[in-house]
């Protein structure tokens, strides 16, 4: 008995060879050199290899360092990176002599910033020198040291006998852009704390430094507010299991701080606020069907003082809960149809002399909101529509460009008006497709728009966005990694780093490294990792 069946994958055989021959077959020196991600600005390595023994190797504060054992950021990082380098306890029992006895971490500025938070101005540069008998990592502050520790851990490789090796290396490194972010959306689907923390971990492995937390939206309001507990009580998917308590939020912020990552929360208004309306009466505009209310609600009601009173109280809380100097205020995709239907709004429009131009009403609202938030001494980020609609913005406002069409023109306009900007339009990672789409993200050049040098300097970075319509804890992590890693290198490494073939080899290694560290990063293509993902 037999059965003849036909089936076949639709792939390019040429590409296969490239992919699956990689891995164990690569010579060790080569493997070492190619596996750094993102690639440092200046990098020199020789074939001279030193052994590191888990029994004797140490990460220590340099004598000259301004930081010491009281620096919890570094103490935690030392432990974390020791574990990354030497793996699990079992492999740490291996006994052999160490050529390299220590990594000295030398913080050079008077204030190591151990108790502070990273900011947009933070200097993340570092210098790393690996030589016998000590490696030295020099950075101005703890944040730069974190980046250097990640690089150091990526330089260590295992030889065929399981011993850890590192090559003689000199690195001088700094980020190309100051704002390198990941947006996660915890409203369309609730993301358990564990998932957020794991992704902060993965962000640090890729030298991302901003977690843009799109925490609430139309679908649900999981942020538990102390001032207005009804917001999550009535607006979350579930008032107990699907919320972020104040201590959850604190934990996210501290976990991020330990990794040199800023947490910028987004409280998007006046649109995208349906879930807010469940907990706050009269906040949203009642929509009308003919001359009577239809029972549905639109954006925040911009004509009531109570709306602004609420926002004042609410953002007072937010400004104390989140330590970062910036809050993202959203301001995108406001649908005018509900405002148009409401007779009170119509009357207000006439009173204010707005005619029928509802974008003026939107600007009226946003302007008042910005003033409210400015009074809390916070800076703000907004989506591009707010700028497009001509709202008067503070000088330090960051405008986020997200619309794919006319992206270059928008960058030109925003920077032309003197505002700093970040780019997310080409990096909407929720749009999935078959194949290696990371290459598309990799090939983006953020400064590729017409403008003066001064204008280009106003582009301070970018963000990879993973919107939540089709994403929750089940698929978030493999969908984000290593696709977001492509964006990470674009934002960190030099402009000239554009070789996709070289990037493929390094990224394939890097994703195996993430898998080894417990992050379920999906494969780039056919092949294998020495240690496959085990946590199912």
């Amino acid at each position: 008995m037999y059965c003849l069946l036909k089936c076949a994958p639709l792939i390019l055989a040429v590409a296969v060879c490239h992919g699956w021959l990689f891995g164990d077959f690569v010579r060790k020196q080569e493997l070492n050199e190619i596996s750094l991600w993102p690639i440092p600005q200046k990098f020199q390595s020789s074939a001279v290899a030193f052994k590191l023994s888990p029994a004797s190797f140490q990460i220590v504060h340099a004598k000259q360092s301004s930081a010491g054992p009281s620096c919890s950021i570094l103490e935690n990082a030392f432990r974390r990176y020791f574990e990354y380098v030497f793996g699990d306890l079992k492999s740490r029992k291996k006994v052999y002599d160490s050529d390299l006895v220590e990594l000295q971490v030398w913080i050079t500025s008077a204030d190591p910033e151990c108790d502070g938070y990273p900011s947009l101005q933070t200097d993340e540069s570092y210098e790393l020198s690996v030589d016998e008998p000590s490696a030295v990592l020099k950075a101005a502050n703890a944040w730069g040291a974190l980046r250097g520790l990640e690089t150091f851990s990526q330089l260590v490789y295992e030889d065929d006998y399981g011993a850890n090796n590192i090559n003689k290396t000199e690195i001088s490194d700094f980020p190309r852009f100051a704002h390198r972010g990941i947006l996660l959306d915890s409203s369309r689907h609730f993301l358990p704390l564990k998932v957020i923390l794991a992704n902060l971990e993965a962000m640090a492995m890729n030298k991302f430094n901003v977690f843009h937390w799109h925490i609430v939206d139309d679908q649900s309001f999981p942020y538990m507010s102390r001032t207005f507990p009804d917001l999550s009580q009535k607006g979350a998917y579930h008032p107990f299991t699907h919320v972020y308590t104040p201590s959850d939020v604190k934990m996210v912020i501290e976990f991020a701080r330990m990794r040199g990552i800023r947490v910028i929360p987004e409280f998007d208004t006046p649109g995208h606020t349906r879930s807010w309306g469940n907990g706050i009466k009269d906040l949203l505009t009642p929509c009308y069907s003919g001359s009577s209310p239809s029972g549905t609600f639109g954006p925040v009601n911009p004509i009531l003082n109570s709306s602004y009173d609420f926002m004042t109280e609410f953002f007072k809380e937010i400004s104390t809960v989140f330590p970062d100097a910036y809050i993202h205020l959203g301001g995108d995709e406001v649908d005018f149809s509900c405002w148009k239907s409401n007779p009170d709004i119509q009357k207000f429009m006439v009173q204010q002399g707005f005619g029928t131009d509802y974008s003026k009403l939107e600007s009226f609202y946003v302007q008042r909101l910005l003033d409210i938030v400015a009074a809390t001494k916070k800076g703000y980020m907004v989506w591009q529509e707010v700028f497009d609609n001509g709202v008067k913005l503070k000088d330090d406002t960051v405008v986020e460009v997200w619309m794919g069409n006319k992206m270059e023109e928008e960058l030109q306009n925003v920077t032309g008006a003197g505002f700093t900007t970040i780019l997310s339009a080409p990096w909407y990672l929720d749009y999935i497709s078959y194949g290696q789409d990371w290459q598309r993200y990799y090939k983006v050049e953020p400064l590729n728009f017409p403008g003066t040098d001064a204008q280009k300097k106003l582009v301070i970075g970018g963000e990879a966005c993973l919107w939540g319509e089709y994403v929750d804890a089940t698929n978030l992590t493999p969908r984000l990694w290593p696709r977001a890693s492509a964006v990470a290198e674009r934002l960190w490494s030099d402009k000239s780093v554009t070789d996709v073939g070289n990037a493929y080899n390094r990224l394939a290694q890097h994703r195996c490294r993430m898998v080894k560290r417990g992050i379920p990063a999906e494969p780039l293509f056919v092949g294998h990792c020495r240690q496959e993902y085990m946590g199912l």
């Binding site: 089936c7 496959e532 946590g535």
Partner: protein, 495 residues
Amino acid sequence: MCCAVLFFFLLIVQVDGVWPLPQQLDQSADRNSLSPQRFSFTYGRDSAAQTGCSVLDAAFKRYFSIIFPDFTKGSGLLIVKTRGCDGYPDEDSDESYNLSVSEGQAVLRSVTVWGALRGLESFSQLVYQDDYGSYFINKTEIVDFPRFAFRGLLLDTSRHYLPLHAILKTLDAMAYSKFNVFHWHIVDDPSFPYQSRTFPDLSNKGAFHPFTHVYTQSDVMRVIEHARMRGIRVIPEFDSPGHTQSWGKGQPNLLTPCYKGDVPSGSFGPVDPTVDTTYKFMESLLKEVKFVFPDSYVHLGGDEVSFACWQSNPNVRTFMEKMGFGKDFTKLESFYMERTSIVWQDVFDYHERDTVLEIWKGETYQAELSRMTKAGHRVLLSAPWYINHISYGQDWRNSYAVQPQNFSGTEEQKKLVIGGEVAMWGEYVDATNLNPRLWPRACAAAERLWSDEEKTLNADLAFPRLEKFRCELLRRGIQAEPLFVGHCKHEYDGL
């Protein structure tokens, strides 16, 4: 009548669907409560299967903890081998069942244990909890049977190695969706993870790693037994003469050496069809496969053979001349497939009717179906269900819209469509992303292959039922991704 299973519960409303939808389902609002302490599965007095039936004893235990996740008591029944329960499902297995839930008792009747498994799955989906945690089931009558006998899912363990637990988990989820064939595309160009007892070098040299990236004989046994317990057939695929790069590493002289001009280039092409050693090797390998895999079917591949290497090789060209094939290399391919088949027929006691063709070419599958069935071949459809091809949004709707018998042909021709399968090729898939990519997207095809098409054409009507089913999958520990915005009571708590 082979099996009758009774459920007892206390007397005591929410009506929700079952996925895939049963052929006939009548529910009333009368609800009965189930007490985990009092509930039990028992064999009916007239049942041919009784305690000791391995498949059902294990299924009782499994479904008890699926229905009552907080109660681990379960039934501690002895597993003793009895006749009828120790076999393997095959293409003629009768999977029909009748389920009648009334006051205090439910009766599940089926001809075979495999039907009983399907009925237990439906039963488990009928039970629900109210806000206080009490369990309920509504008065229900189900008459159910599959539309197609072959409802398969393909996993590819060559392009990426899938750890055993990933395969076992997939089998669990398959049973929840009433899939009944695991098509194991076990080897291919990139790697040969199957550890052969006859030719150990195949995996020693052809796997990604000879120890960590292989399936040992006991791994394979475990997969087969895990599948059997869930009424799932395991059909392995050993694809040749193309897709065999990894075979060549452990089996010298199996592949055709490619030439560059007059000298071998050092690279290799498809299996060398001109030498007898090839067929001897295939015979030994197929004998082993027959011994290891109990299913009467094995998938021989035979797809996508590149002729360039054969063309370059002087020995192959001489052979072509000798055989009078001219320059037509498809003749050489047929020659190989025929000889392999003959080997196969000897090994497997071949009968003409058992050939099944699988249609995989996407754009023209209706025409192919029409052509193949006209020629009298039995066919399987996988073309529209290559779910490794991902895209943004609710692409399950495309899978759901497929109508396997919607092609021009006679009634007789349509009957030749024996089923279909969902294929998850492995180029971009490994243990990190397999599960959320499979589920619940594969569920769409599962319903198409099981349920009455007339009752399941509207995807909008199916949506809430599928949404609920994906939450149920999550509750059962399957990492099924969301269909759209929303939430489940029990979210996935892994990573």
